[in-house]
Symmetry: C2
Subunit: 135 residues, 2 copies
DNA sequence: TTTCACTTTAGAATCATTATAAACTATTAC
DNA sequence: GTAATAGTTTATAATGATTCTAAAGTGAAA
């Protein structure tokens, strides 16, 4: 991903391309596979892989901005940490609780034949399938 | 649920039937429908519905004991609070993020036709379907 | 009924996350 | 370019959920 693309991505979401955002965006989005992380793990990786220094609050701010802009999605995982995913398309997950590892499952890999209808005045927003793994 | 049944339930899981555990167990398990809660909400309800007084730590201890004994399950919900469920059978959930409300879906209400196989040396422990609702 | 391991308790400690307010910086208008 | 300003970053404090600690309490076995 070119630097200008990152600028565009940020600008088009109303986010000023600051040094920090550009660097975090490059780290998050400039990769082949989707990437799952917590703020804590992202912080550690940024410390290791970049020369810049980021306040923890900035990482929280940035991740939330990216999430609100639709560039990141949040994954529901048991436990108290928030997991994020660079894959924002509709998809599913394997979860290995032994290693706390998430693996994406493409939407077309799961076919649901029957599903109950939404209660009372509600509608279905989306369906997420979570496959828990064991050894 | 009779008091002796609660005693049995606790004893058979190696849990001493203390005053607190019995009262919390009665509150949680003596109902028709399944019940979803966080420690915070349970604490408030216990304050309202019982005359006993429980230390918050006791509620945490008790809920964890019950969970480890298999009498409660944990539900994966986005956000930072831990949700518990008195339904420990294999089942699924509707989730209304507007009201933070969970609704159980019986396992037989969902039929999955196709699912990917587990990666490398792993096996599938279980599959959980999460249906997010909107208005 | 005594003893002892298991529990409960209040409060301190910890961990993740959010709020605050001052310093900084990208953008806009000139 | 330069100045003004609105949006950002930062360090730190504050908050909220959860866990830890160590002392006091209590079931259960002998």
């Amino acid at each position: 991903m070119k630097k200008t693309d990152i600028f565009k991505k940020l600008r088009s979401s109303g986010l000023r391309p600051t040094k920090q955002r550009v660097e975090i965006a490059k780290f998050l989005f400039d990769r082949e596979k989707t990437f799952h992380f917590t703020v804590e793990s992202l912080n550690k990786l940024l410390e290791k892989k970049t020369t810049s220094k980021f306040a923890l609050a900035t990482i929280y701010n940035t991740v939330h901005s990216f999430k609100n802009a639709g560039h990141l999605s949040e994954v529901e995982v048991k436990g108290n940490k928030t997991y994020f995913d660079t894959n924002v398309s509709n998809h599913h997950h394997f979860y290995d609780s032994e290693t706390s590892q998430l693996i994406d499952i493409d939407a077309k890999e799961v076919v649901i034949q029957k599903i109950p209808k939404a209660p009372n005045g509600k509608k279905i927003k989306n369906v997420e399938v979570f496959i828990n793994l064991k050894n």
